[in-house]
């Protein structure tokens, strides 16, 4: 069979493939934000479950990342909040960082690790104000505005 005879066939296959690709439509402007943070207590295996938002994961990799292999502090609860883009911001008492995690196929992938304090956080909490995730250290009244790529602005109130 000559190539010239195959040309219409190749053309038809190409058109149909392009058509199929065009049918994967996308909804833009989705707001994933969570207005109030979730405070989750891990079980003995380190699993946490956010019943309201239907989310389950294990915090042990997070603890390993925060404290390293040697030091293991007992974490009674972790706090997480989600911004409009869908990134999870996770921290806990005694952490120095806020972990920005991107949800994937059955995983949470580290997008950024924001160091918010040289000292361990005493009583951190997330708020969601005007589309921005805030980290409040209620013990010291420090407020940090957080974006995926880091601290946007550092306020010292009190």
């Amino acid at each position: 069979m000559k190539l010239s005879k195959l040309t219409p066939l190749i053309f038809l296959i190409s058109v149909s493939l392009i058509g199929t690709a065009c049918n994967k439509f996308v909804i833009e402007g989705v707001n994933y934000s969570q207005e109030v943070e979730s405070v989750l207590e891990p079980d003995e295996n380190g699993n946490v479950e956010d019943v309201r938002h239907d989310l389950t994961f294990n915090i042990n990799p997070l603890l390993k990342e925060e404290f390293g292999e040697g030091e293991q502090l007992n974490i009674e609860e972790i706090r997480l909040i989600r911004n409009a883009e869908g990134f999870y911001f996770i921290t806990a008492k005694n952490f120095r960082h806020v972990y920005v995690m991107k949800p994937g196929h059955s995983n949470l992938k580290l997008e950024n690790k924001i160091r918010v304090s040289d000292d361990r956080l005493i009583s951190p909490a997330f708020n969601y104000r005007d589309g921005i995730v805030q980290l409040v250290n209620t013990g010291t009244n420090d407020v940090y505005a957080l974006r995926v790529d880091g601290i946007e602005e550092l306020n010292q109130e009190g």
């Binding site: 207005e35 109030v36 943070e37 909490a125 997330f126 969601y128 209620t138 009244n141 009190g158």
Partner: protein
Amino acid sequence: MTHATKQLITLTFLVLFGWTSVHAQTSDYQIKKGFQATYTVLNEAIENAGSVSELDTVVSEISEFEAEFSDHKELLDNALYPETFESSFAKLKQDANNTERRLLIIESQDEKLSELSSELSSYKNELERLSNTSDSLRNAINKSEQSERELAALVQQYRQSLEFRDNAVLNIVDSLFITYRDLKTETSADLVEFYDNRKIVSQDNPLEFISDVVEENIQILKTDEGTLQTEDYLRMHVVQTRFSEVWNQIGNDLVNIYAGSNKEEWKTEIESKLSDWEASSSRNMWASIDEYLESNDVDLGAFDSNKSFYASIEAFINDATDLSRENVITDENYEQFQSFYAFWNGKIKSEWGDFVQEGDVLTMTQISAIDSEIMNWRDEAKPRSFFIPILLGISLLTIVGLIIVLARK
């Protein structure tokens, strides 16, 4: 300090804590938790409120609570999903309204019960006085060495004092019934809960009173040594029947309200005493009727219930009617008829009439049936007059004799 008061203090603390937190840097999550904690305390305070005034305090706390958190309405609408700030308060206020309605009913019924308690107290005194009179009269009769006439007067007084006592018991029973019938509404479950948490002083407890009255009546019947007459036993049986009827209607409610944690024990005790009383009063009454009939030469055979009494009367009348039919010449059956008729009309239908029907000795239908059979018996037992047939026979013989004499001539 009551449980409710403690709760209110906790509540005030929580509201204050909430207020302080609002003015410092705090987390939305903390606001949500504070709201939920206060909400739970308020909810429990509504459930546990023991009076309308206590509930009024809780309601005013709810208003303060609502005002304190109204700045966070938007946040809470989100955090409380699927509830909202408004729906949460609507629910709380609705619960408070329901509890207030329930408490108002309970308080009004509690008032009625208090009235009854004071009534009960005066009845107890009256009954005690009458019982004392009866006791001293019975003692006087037992020890009496007086003349027959004086003794008869004492017995008469004793019987009269028992009659007064029985009337007092009937009045008490009616009073109890009217009061508790009014209480027997959909609120009785609330009352049970209310009274479970309230210590009832034994002197206010109608169950104690009922148990004592029943016990005294059993003792009167058991210790009687022939001083009472059939009429007295009939009256006592009526009192017992009425008492049991009322107990069957309101007994469960009384036990629920007043027996606290000993519901089964009280129920069993009173019902066992009532059963004992019923057996004694019934036995004495039937024995006394039988004795009365025997003393009037009417032998009905054995009977110890409405059914067997009716059957005995019916059999007695039928036999007597048959006998009368067979012996038309003698007037012996007619005398028996008259004796029974005097008992039937004079005692059963007149003197004892009210007790016979109220005490279910005989029903109206049974009395009517016996009336008709008695009329039948009377017709058969009435002695026939043979004067006219004999006169007619003599006249006929005379005429025949005259005709023969005239013919011979």
